[in-house]
Subunit: 144 residues, 2 copies
Amino acid sequence: MTRPRITRGDLDRNLGLRLRRAHGAVQRHFLDHFSELGLTQKQVSVLWLTGDHPDLAQTDLAAALDMDRATTMALVHGLEKRGLLVRRPSATDRRRIAFRLTDAGTAVLADAKAAIVEHEAWLKDRFTAGELKTLEELLARIYR
Amino acid sequence: MTRPRITRGDLDRNLGLRLRRAHGAVQRHFLDHFSELGLTQKQVSVLWLTGDHPDLAQTDLAAALDMDRATTMALVHGLEKRGLLVRRPSATDRRRIAFRLTDAGTAVLADAKAAIVEHEAWLKDRFTAGELKTLEELLARIYR
DNA sequence: TATTGTTATACTCTATAACTATA
DNA sequence: TATAGTTATAGAGTATAACAATA
């Protein structure tokens, strides 16, 4: 069979592509191993931040996770529908809708954190502590 | 105004989140600066690999870019509809559909490569040569 | 005027499942 | 049996535009 040997050539010097492939691999691992959680990584991030910051508003969340406001809406409304968080207008600024975890949300977050710990261990096990620190710093330079 | 100060706390040690944010920032930069190209980064990757490997089959492409076959279909069909590549059954294995760039595709690829070079320069300028090499190697360990 | 939330809409990427044709 | 392509379908993520309420 004449099966061409695929090399990525110049494309392999494409850092954007490497970033996308790495991100995709991590995403795939999470979906494959933690689908029974019923939450995406992004949803977990929202619950996590809400747990750390009760009365968070959607705008704060959007800024903290680099999201559009409309994108944030969909995420937060989904979690609200599932009873994991409640929203109510802020007392000091009635434009803002503050939200916090319900008891159910707190319980789900605990499970989710355990899943994330396991997921992160899979991801980080391939690096030494020094490499990990380096990688974290280099990645932060891209979005910060 | 009582505006909570948002810290990411433990979440900041989440490597998956850093990866997602970095990937998102790169994606955003590409969309913001090269929308007039009319191609996504992924589409450029397909054209690029096809240019380097005439008579590529969809399965080869899927493997080279970590894509599902169905995902690959949508990508390739879109590029075919726009006249950037042509597909025809392989002579040696009639299950395989080999494809290659049209003249239009070759021309578009040249523009796309110029855009990618500019985009990558924006991305890489924040790193020294040594840091870049390190980052490339560390990222490859995730998907390889 | 600017900010916050909201809704409608759309596109990309990804994936699963079931099917056909070929090896 | 296995592989390659195809189609239908669905979900997540992202974003824009336009609007109402509030600051």
